[in-house]
Symmetry: C2
Subunit: 601 residues, 2 copies
C-alpha cells in the first residue's frame, strides 16, 4: 500500500511560519485551540487519509456508482467514511460548539480538506458537501431547520448537496425553472428538474438533504426571483419516521474522472408531493447560495491543489528512482545511467509542479486566514478581510484548477509511457483533475466575476486592499538582500496589472461591457500569476527568516527548496505576464466583432 | 451516426491554394497525378473514414484489446480495415508503382492520414505502422527482404511495427540490450525484451513484422552499436508455411486513451529460436530508424492535429446549438437565451482551437511538401529541402502534440459539464490526445534534437534556410496592405528568436551543454510559436489573394475566417514569445544548479 503523500512539512510551514495560525487563538472563538490541538488534528487527518481514503482510490475509480432500480449504489466504504467524518467531528470542524462543531479555524480545516482530497478526491467530496449544506442552514435557516437538519448533517448520517444546475440553467442561473408553490401548511411544493448534482443520491447515508434553488410562483424574473429551499430526499413524517419526498433520480453521469462520486439528475414532484422548506426570505436565495459558494470554491481550489500535489509527489518519487540517460557533460554509454531527476529538464518539470502546488496551497491558506479573521473581527476590519476574500475567490478557485491540469499533465510526462498506463495513479489524477475548471463556476464565469464585479465594486475597495497587501509584502522583501530582486520584479508586474486594469475599465466606459470583458479570462490568468508570485514572496520571506535562525540540514534543504521554487516562479512563470499584458493592451475587438458565419466546417 | 468532420474545405485550401500540390505533378515521379485524382483520393478517404473508422470509435475505446492465452484479440473491424487499407492502396500510397505503390505525394497521403485519424485515431495507427515498416525495408533492405515482406505489408495481410523501446531504454536508446547472435545460415538469433510496442500482436492480421533494434555481439557500446533487424512473429519455413518465430507477448498495457490499439511487451528468443534478418549494414540501425522516424513523427503530428480537429468541430457544433446566457449589452432575463457561440469568451476559445488545428495542419503540409521535393530533386535542392524538413520535424511532432492537448481541453471546456461525461466524444479525444507528447520521442527529446542538433549541424545550414523561408513569406506579406502589420510583427519575433538562439549557443561555449540545453523545451516552444505564425502568414497571403479574386458568399466567409484566425494568432499566441524570450535570456542556471535534496516530501 502506498503512503499518502501530502507534504506535511509544507503544511506546517504554511500554517505556523507563513500565516501564523496560532495568532488566531487570541480571538475568543478560537481560544480553546493551541499548537498541540492543531498538530493532533493534522496528524489524525493524515492517519484517516492513509487508512480510509487512499486504499480505495483505484477501486472507486474502477467501480463507479450505479443507478439500480432508481437508487444509486456507491462503494461500501462511503458509509464508513461518512460515519467517521461525522463522529470524528470533521464535517462540523469550523462550526460553533453549541451546534456540535469544534470552532477550528478554516485554515486548519483547509489543511485537512487538502489531506483528504490528496488521498482520494472522490471520497472527500461527500463530507465536504454536507459541511456546505449545514453551513447554509446555520447561516440563514430558522431554528426548526437548524434543529432538524444540522445535527444529522454534521454526524454524517445524512448527506447534504447543493442543487443549482438545470438542463437550461448551467452558467446562467437566472434561467432556473424549478417552481415552488406555497401551501397553507408553510412548506412549498416543488416541481422541476435538476442535473449534475453531486452526491444527490446514494446508499452510504440514510437520507439526502438538497439545498435547492427554485422560484416561488409569481417571483420576479431572473436572479432576483430565486429562493433557497431545503428539499430532503425523505422527509420526516408526523410520527417521526422518514417517508419518500417525491424526489427521484433519473440518470447518473458517466464521467472522465472523479468517478467515485455519483453525479446525478433529479426529478422533483412527479407525484405533486415534493415538499421544500424555505431558507431565509423569499427571492434572496442566490445571495445566500453565493455566500456559501465562497467556501465551496475554496474547496474546489483545495481539491485541485491536492490532486496536483499527489501527482507531483508521485512524479518526484519516480524521478528519483527511474534510471535513464546520462549527464550532457558525460554521455559515455559505458557509464551507468542516472536517475532522471538529475536532468535539468526534469528538474524544471518538477519545479513547475511544486511551484503550482505549493503556490496554490499558500493562496488557499491566505484566503482561509482572511475568512477566519472576517469571522471574528468587527466593523472596518471585518469588511477589509471579507473584501480581500471576495476578490481572491475567483483566483483561488481557478488558478489551482487551470494550472493544476497542466501540473498533473507534467507529472504524467515525468513517467513517460508508464504515466499513460494505469500501473501508476497519475493517469487517474489526470482524469480526476479535469473537472475543476468546470464545476462550481467555470473559469470563464470566475473571470467575469473578477473583472466584472470584484475589481470594481465599492469603487474598487477590494482591489485597493489587494494592492496594499501586495505592497506590504514587497516592502518587507525589499529589506531582505536575497529577495530584493524578486520584490522589484513583483512591483513591476503589479504596475503592469494595474495598467491592464485601468485600460479595461476605460474600455468599459468608451466601448461598453462586451469589449472590456472580452478578455476577462486572460485578465484572470494575469491576476492569478501575480497573486501566486505574491504568495511565493511571502513564503520566501518566511524561509529566509528560518534559514537565518539556523536549522538542521534536513530543514535547511526544505527552506532552500522553497527559495529555489520562488526563483523558478519568478524566472519561468511571472514572465508569462509580459505576453498577457501585451494582448490585453492591444486587443482590437476581434472576439466581439467576428461573425459566427466565418466558423465553417 | 455522426458525420465525420475534418474541415474538407480547409484541406483543399492547404493542398491547392497554399502549397500548390499540383505543381508537384511536373516532376516525373508524380506525373500520373492530376487534380481529379487527388480529389478522388481525398473523397474516398472521407467515405472510408465515415463508413469504417468513425462507427467504431467508441466501441474500440470501450472494448480495448485483450491478451488471451498469449494472443492479443482486437476489435473485429481491425481486420476489415487492414484489408481495405491494403487493397485500396492506402498503405503503399507514396511508394513506387513497381513495388505496388501509387506514387502519390506525401502531401496527399498526409491529408488522408489526417482524415482517418480524425475519425478514429486508434484504428488509423495499424496501417500507418505497416507503411512505416515497409518504407524502412524498401529504403535499406536487400531484394530478398523487399520481395518477402513489402507486398504483404502493403496489402494489409501482415502488420508492421517499430520495436525500439526496452524496459531500461526508453528515451535513452543507447542502452538497448536486445542481443543478436550471427549464425552461419545468415540470419541472427535474437534474445531480449521489448516494451510499449504498438500493434505488436493482434488477430486482425496473419502475421506481424517487427522492425527491431538490437545489438550484434561484440558491437560498439552505445548508439554506434545498434543494428536494425526484421523479426517476424511467424517466419516462413522452408516449405513456405508460417511457423512461430519464438516471439511471445508478455503483457498488454491498460491505457488512459488510444485504447483501441494494442500496446504490448514482447519477449524474444525464450526458446533460443527467434530469427532476425539484418537490414542494411551492421551498426547502422539507428541511422536507418531515424530517417524513417521523420515520417513517423509527422504521422504523430498529423494524428494529434486530427484529434484536436475532431474535438474542435464537435465544440463548434455544440457552441452553435447550446443556448445559455445573454449578451452583456442586454442581460434582460425575460429575453430568450442565445447560443453560446455569441459570447466573446467562447469565440476566443474556438479561435484558439482553430488556430492550433489549422496552424498545425499547415505546418504538416509544409513538411510534407519539403519531403516530396527532397524525394524528386537532386543535388543542392535535395539537400535544401531535406534540411528544412529535418529542422522542422521536432516542431511538427511537438507543437500539434503539446498544443493539441490544450486545444482538446478547450473543446471539452466549451461543453461545460457535458464535456466531462461520455455523452459526447470529446472526453475520449481528451484521453486519446495525451499520448502524443510522449510517443515517438517525448517533447523533451524533440527539444534536445532541435537545439542540440538541428539548429547547429552543418554550421547552422538548416537554421539559415529556415530563416530564409520565413523571410520570403514576410516580404510577400509586406506587399499586401492588410497583412503588413503581421509581417512586421513576425519579423520582430524572428529577430527575438535569433537573439535567443545566439544567446544559448554562446552559453554552450562559455558554460557547457548543461546550461545551454537546460531550457531547450522552452526554446522548442518559442520556435514552434514563431513557426506556426509563419504558417498563418502563408495562409493569410493565400486567403487575401482569393478574396481579391471575388468569391461566393460561403467561400468569402471561409477566407474571412482564415484572416480572423490569423489575427487571433498574432494577437493571442505570438505574444507568448515575449515571456519565453525573457526567460531564455535571463536564465540564471537554477535547473542545473538545484540540489535534488531540496525536493523533500
Amino acid at each position: 500500500m502506498p503512503i499518502v503523500s501530502v507534504g506535511k512539512r509544507n503544511l506546517e510551514f504554511l500554517l505556523y511560519e507563513v500565516f501564523d495560525v496560532l495568532s488566531l487563538t487570541h480571538h475568543k472563538y478560537y481560544e480553546d485551540n493551541d499548537r498541540e490541538m492543531f498538530d493532533m488534528v493534522l496528524r489524525t487527518s493524515l492517519d484517516i487519509a492513509q487508512e480510509l481514503f487512499l486504499p480505495i482510490l483505484k477501486e472507486m475509480d474502477e467501480n463507479p456508482p450505479r443507478l439500480v432500480g432508481g437508487k444509486v449504489k456507491v462503494h461500501p466504504a462511503v458509509r464508513t467514511i461518512m460515519k467517521e467524518m461525522g463522529q470524528g467531528g470533521w464535517i462540523g470542524a469550523t462550526y460553533p460548539k453549541e451546534l456540535g462543531g469544534s470552532q477550528l479555524p478554516l485554515m486548519i480545516d483547509t489543511a485537512c480538506t487538502f489531506v483528504f482530497s490528496a488521498a482520494n478526491y472522490s471520497a472527500s467530496v461527500f463530507p465536504l458537501l454536507s459541511k456546505g449544506a449545514a453551513g447554509l442552514i446555520i447561516a440563514y435557516g430558522d431554528q426548526d431547520l437548524i434543529a432538524t437538519y444540522v445535527p444529522r448533517l454534521l454526524s454524517g448520517e445524512w448527506q447534504g448537496t447543493m442543487a443549482l444546475t438545470e438542463p437550461q440553467a448551467g452558467s446562467s442561473l437566472s434561467d432556473i425553472a424549478t417552481m415552488a408553490e406555497p401551501t397553507p401548511k408553510g412548506y412549498y411544493k416543488l416541481q422541476g428538474r435538476k442535473v449534475f448534482i453531486s452526491a444527490a443520491d446514494h446508499d452510504g447515508v440514510e437520507n439526502v438533504v438538497h439545498l435547492m434553488l427554485a422560484k416561488i410562483e409569481g417571483a420576479p424574473v431572473g436572479v432576483k426571483g430565486i429562493s433557497l429551499f431545503v428539499v430532503p430526499q425523505k422527509r420526516i413524517d408526523d410520527d417521526g419516521s422518514l417517508v419518500p419526498n417525491d424526489v427521484s433520480t433519473t440518470e447518473i453521469y458517466h464521467k472522465l474522472g472523479y468517478r467515485g462520486s455519483p453525479i446525478v439528475g433529479l426529478s422533483l414532484g412527479e407525484a405533486d408531493d415534493c415538499r421544500g422548506y424555505l431558507v431565509g426570505k423569499p427571492h434572496e436565495g442566490l445571495r445566500y447560495m453565493f455566500q456559501m459558494m465562497n467556501e465551496s470554491r475554496l474547496g474546489v481550489g483545495a481539491g485541485a491543489a491536492a490532486i496536483a500535489s499527489s501527482a507531483y509527489y508521485a512524479a518526484l518519487e519516480y524521478a528519483k528512482e527511474r534510471l535513464q540517460g546520462r549527464p550532457l557533460t558525460n554521455k559515455n554509454p559505458a557509464l551507468p545511467q542516472v536517475p532522471i531527476i538529475q536532468h535539468a529538464d526534469v528538474k524544471r518539470m518538477l519545479l513547475f509542479q511544486r511551484a503550482i502546488v505549493e503556490g496554490s496551497l499558500s493562496l488557499l491558506m491566505q484566503c482561509s486566514q482572511y475568512a477566519d479573521l472576517a469571522k471574528v473581527l468587527g466593523g472596518k476590519e471585518k469588511e477589509k478581510y471579507r473584501s480581500l476574500l471576495d476578490i481572491l475567490i475567483p483566483v483561488a478557485k481557478s488558478y489551482p484548477s487551470e494550472m493544476g491540469v497542466l501540473s498533473v499533465s507534467q507529472s504524467l510526462q515525468c513517467f513517460g509511457g508508464y504515466g499513460y498506463c494505469d500501473d501508476f495513479s497519475v493517469e487517474q489524477h489526470y482524469r480526476d483533475m479535469r473537472i475543476h475548471p468546470i464545476h462550481e463556476g467555470t473559469t470563464g464565469i470566475q473571470a467575469l466575476d473578477l473583472l466584472g464585479r470584484k475589481v470594481v465594486i465599492h469603487d474598487g475597495l477590494a482591489f485597493g486592499l489587494y494592492l496594499a497587501q501586495m505592497g506590504e509584502a514587497i516592502e518587507a522583501a525589499q529589506e531582505i538582500g536575497e529577495l530584493k530582486r524578486y520584490a522589484l520584479q513583483l512591483r513591476d508586474a503589479l504596475e503592469s496589472l494595474q495598467r491592464a486594469t485601468s485600460h479595461l475599465l476605460s474600455l468599459a466606459q468608451s466601448q461598453g461591457p462586451e469589449r472590456s470583458m472580452a478578455d476577462a479570462t486572460l485578465y484572470l490568468e494575469f491576476f492569478g500569476i501575480v497573486t501566486i508570485a505574491w504568495q511565493w514572496l511571502l513564503q520566501g520571506i518566511a524561509a529566509q527568516k528560518a534559514l537565518k535562525n539556523g536549522r538542521t540540514a534536513a530543514d535547511a534543504n526544505f527552506y532552500r527548496g522553497k527559495l529555489c521554487t520562488l526563483r523558478y516562479f519568478f524566472g519561468y512563470e511571472l514572465p508569462k505576464t509580459l505576453g498577457l499584458s501585451f494582448t490585453l493592451l492591444n486587443n482590437d475587438g476581434l472576439t466581439v466583432e467576428i461573425d459566427e458565419k466565418t466558423f465553417v466546417e
